[in-house]
Every structure is written in C-alpha cells, then in structure tokens.
C-alpha cells in the first residue's frame, strides 16, 4: 500500500465514523495499522465495528492493497480514555 492509499483510508474512516484516526506503519514494509476512535462505536460490539470498518476498507482500497492493512483497532471515546491507564 502506498502512503497515499493509507491516508485515503484514514480519511474515509474519519468521514464514515466521524472518528479520530491514527495511522502507523508496521515493520519496514508498506503495511499499516489503524486506530479508530468514534462515538458511533459505543453501541456496537467489537465484531460489528470490525465489519463496519472493513466495509470502508473494501470500498476505499484496491483488492491487493487491502492485504497491507494490518489490524484496525476500534474504540469508543470512553474505552479509549480508559485504555492505557
């Protein structure tokens, strides 16, 4: 995945979920992990969130580039505030 594609996906996730999104390169290849914090996740299970964010991946990236998406971690604002305490 190119850096531009990673940025596009981050932008699409921000738009779809009114989210705060962090992107980080994983290892020394062009593979990226994403962290998404959105109030929309508050009433969703983790698997529902995963289905929703991967729908955005599929709608945004070409098929081969989706392989370079590592994990997408999803948090509600309250969970994010609690994480790492």
């Amino acid at each position: 995945m190119t850096q531009e594609q990673a940025n596009s996906l981050a932008e699409a996730l921000r738009g779809r979920f009114q989210a705060e999104v962090d992107v980080e390169q994983v290892g020394d290849r062009m593979r990226f992990r994403f962290g998404v914090v959105s109030p929309q996740f508050s009433q969703m299970t983790q698997l529902q969130r995963q289905d929703a964010v991967w729908q955005v991946v599929d709608a945004t990236l070409p098929r081969e580039a989706t392989l370079d998406v590592s994990l997408i971690l999803t948090f509600s604002p309250a969970e994010f505030a609690d994480a790492g305490r």
């Binding site: 593979r31 698997l47 994990l71 971690l73 999803t74 948090f75």
Partner: protein, 158 residues
C-alpha cells in the same frame, strides 16, 4: 531436584498445537453451552487462544530451526521470531511475518466468495482489544458470534 527445569524450552510440534487448539475450542463450546453471561469472557479468551496457537503452529512450521532452539542459542536476528513463538501473544506481529498466509487466505476467499484474510484480521483485532485494552464483560451472544467465526477460521489455519 534436577537442575534445568526452567531452562527447558517447549517442544510442541505444529500437529500437537493443532490438537491443543481443538481441545481449547471444545472447552469454549462447553462454556458457551452454559448460556451464562458470566462465562462469555471465558469463551472469548479461549477462542482467541485457539487463533493464537494456530498462528504459532504456522510460525513453528515456517521457522523450524528457530523454534527448536533454546533461548540462549537464539541469535539477534532470530530473537523476534523466537519470542513470537514462545514468549509473546502478539497476533499482529505473527501475521506480519506470514504474508504468504494472508495471500493464501485472500485467494481461497476469492474462490469461496468470502474475505478470509479480513476475517482473520477482524478476529485478531477483537482479541487484541479484549486482551490488552478492555476490562469490559462480554455478553454470551457476542462471545458466541466470535466462536462461530473462529470455528471456520481454525479449519483454514490448520
């Protein structure tokens, strides 16, 4: 007592690890069958462990020389792989070192009309959140959905 108990390294073979995974999955099913929400986190923990041990089995299969070494024999370049196999619970790190698995799941998924690569990453992300970040108690309905997704994935990971 004889010395060296703690120096001994695990010697599980991939086939034995697959057996362990099946047994833990059966344990998860048994907990799920109780239908008690109080057991839901137990179900989630066990199915996450099933995925973890199957990924570790694949790493052992891919890097048998490193996996067989004792800790003091591991070189600097081998250390990360060795730790992923025997010391850590880093699903993302394991996936990172098995691009061929990701690609194979993608190809298989195209044949079946499903994205198994994404399914695996969804389960790994859920497990990572649950294990590292979330003190939340799950409901059994959610844990059961997770169980069903891993039921399919574990067959692909063996």
């Amino acid at each position: 007592m004889s010395s060296g108990i703690f120096a001994k390294e695990p010697r599980l073979r991939p086939s034995a690890m697959a057996t362990v995974a099946e047994r833990r999955f059966a344990d998860a099913e048994a907990l799920s069958d109780t239908n008690e929400n109080a057991r839901a986190n137990g179900v989630a923990y066990l199915v996450g462990f099933v995925v973890e041990i199957l990924l570790k089995a694949r790493l052992v299969d891919k890097f048998p020389q490193i996996a067989r070494k004792q800790q003091h024999e591991v070189s600097e370049t081998e250390r990360e792989i060795w730790r992923l196999i025997w010391r850590q619970h880093d699903l993302e790190g394991m996936l990172e070192r098995m691009n061929e698995l990701d690609a194979a799941l993608k190809r298989r998924g195209e044949r079946d009309g499903k994205d198994y690569s994404a399914e695996l990453k969804k389960v790994c992300a859920t497990w990572t959140i649950q294990a590292r970040y979330s003190p939340r108690t799950m409901l059994m309905t959610e844990a059961r959905e997770w169980l069903e997704r891993v039921r399919l994935l574990k067959e692909l990971l063996k």
